[in-house]
Subunit: 344 residues, 2 copies
Amino acid sequence: MLTDRQLLILKIIVDDFIRSGQPVGSRTLSKKEQITFSSATIRNEMADLEELGFIEKTHISSGRVPSQKGYRYYVDHLLPPFRLTQKDIQTIRSIFHEQIYELEKLIQKSAQILSDLTNYTTVVLGPSVKEHKLKTIQIVPLNAETAVAIIVTDTGYVEKHVVTLPPSIPTSDVEKMVNILNDRLTGVPLEDLTDKIQTEVTHVLREHIQSYDHMLRMISASLDLNAPAQMFLSGKMNMLRQPEFNDIDKLRALFNVIEQEKEFYRLLRKHKQQGVQVKIGTENDVEGMENCSLITATYSVGGEKLGTIAVLGPTRMEYSRVISLLNLVATDLSNVLTMWYQKD
Amino acid sequence: MLTDRQLLILKIIVDDFIRSGQPVGSRTLSKKEQITFSSATIRNEMADLEELGFIEKTHISSGRVPSQKGYRYYVDHLLPPFRLTQKDIQTIRSIFHEQIYELEKLIQKSAQILSDLTNYTTVVLGPSVKEHKLKTIQIVPLNAETAVAIIVTDTGYVEKHVVTLPPSIPTSDVEKMVNILNDRLTGVPLEDLTDKIQTEVTHVLREHIQSYDHMLRMISASLDLNAPAQMFLSGKMNMLRQPEFNDIDKLRALFNVIEQEKEFYRLLRKHKQQGVQVKIGTENDVEGMENCSLITATYSVGGEKLGTIAVLGPTRMEYSRVISLLNLVATDLSNVLTMWYQKD
DNA sequence: TGTTAGCACTCTAATAAAGCGAGTGCTAAA
DNA sequence: TTTAGCACTCGCTTTATTAGAGTGCTAACA
């Protein structure tokens, strides 16, 4: 559909605009060494490209700027191969050289490095804990009335919850209950806990424990894990440095979205299959993100998706570089996690 | 030193400027009902006030704006009594009506409500966990090589740390160790743990446990609590709405400080004694906070300071209202916490 | 037939000029 | 001591002007 010359021109326009942020004119283009024809020819080609919707003018006599469709085509067909510098690679690898054994910390660190390297914002969707299996439940009484209920999963995830104890319950009962719970529930995925308690634990408790109903309510409350997967954002303030958000109103609109987090949650969850995905401008279908692109990748253990890691930047984004960086982080992260969890 | 009339004028200028954000001229002032004299008189008085350094002009023929000294005097001597609305009071009280049993959540909620009510940014310095006493240590093995070490304090604070286990250590040894640690260390303030382990636990462990040195190192690592007290920020983005930060560069400078967090840590720790403290502009002695004021208050249990809660806003801040709100939150928070911890 | 030089034209952004209005300081009168 | 009056200052907005970058179109060229 597009001639080679048109592709060349489109590619250079996008590259140049991503680099400079300025609309690209025919004269500027004609000076590029890859270009062997005159500015007049370029003008003709640009008029065609504009008619086809790949580029647009900011005003009637301005240079051209990639349209959303133009970016899309660029990302799909024209992306120049990008060689990460050794320094970038080393910076990323350094995350995994440190002795970090906690999933959350590892994820946070990844997000931070990625946002530092790209100068954009990184969003990570942590793994849903629902599928993690219970390792142990502990109830630590603090005083006569309150206790901390602690849940540990096979992945090392720890959740705590301060609860009230029934008045004057014997300590032995608490211990008994903890034993029963651990006996029956170890290895059960967190999302099934409530059911399992209903079907298997209630009747046992009823036999052995005073005021078992209060205790049950309490334990159910602390197991109320309808909490969505954790999300980590890093480098929000990098957006302050993007010239497209020099306008305070655009900035406000953007941060409204960013602070919501809800939308990101939705967007990141959408990404199911492997590989890197690029969503440009309105493709994200979020108000306030018209001028942003979101590049997402999943990380996984042994092929099974754990979560999503994404970079948010202006549509005028260094796609090539960001995709490479994101890819590296995601695969490294997956590798490390796969190693971790294959030990079991 | 200042005549009553000068005080009146100063007060109205500050009030009006805080309200409107516009320099206040003699004509505007003369229309206020409290003012019984002419604009010419006001001009004379304003010239004096300016000479004394309480107000300044933004340019040679502009209205007057409070100087830092002016704000200082206003806060120290002219603060109008502020009656919180019933609605504000109820909103704040609602924090404490909910069944929250966790210190962190309570603090976060307080910060959030305070930033919502004021439209400024709230910073809270959580209690230092150093003085909390150990309730229990648990070590939950995850697989052959790793385990989660969990520390619970008497305040319900939980800290976890994933650690590596010595190769092929018997489970019984881990249990033994946990028993020994709990035996010897329960009730010890966290900050003394390392010492206590050195003096009291090492020799016992040596007798009973294989590869006790690895275990010791491991447990020490997970007790490495030189982590500073937690800090919570809420409502950072409220600053976007302050007209003084409409300028993108000022905004950047401000967020540089906010994101650092280090400076806040320093500032909030400085506040030792009871009561509300107001630091205006350069009084904070932090680059980038010249246009900001920080109002701090401490919260405490039974008179003993636990942490600090603060509101950050532009120097053109609703001092009266913020002080009242902050006061209410801090005292309510103190009351609730005192109730909690007097149960022991 | 595709390419290019040339040119008139358009529009932005930067700069200058002009007028308005809010506010000041000073003077002289009450 | 207070106030009315007035000349003056400056920021802000509006209007004009200009320079420059870029375009589309036409006609000539290979």
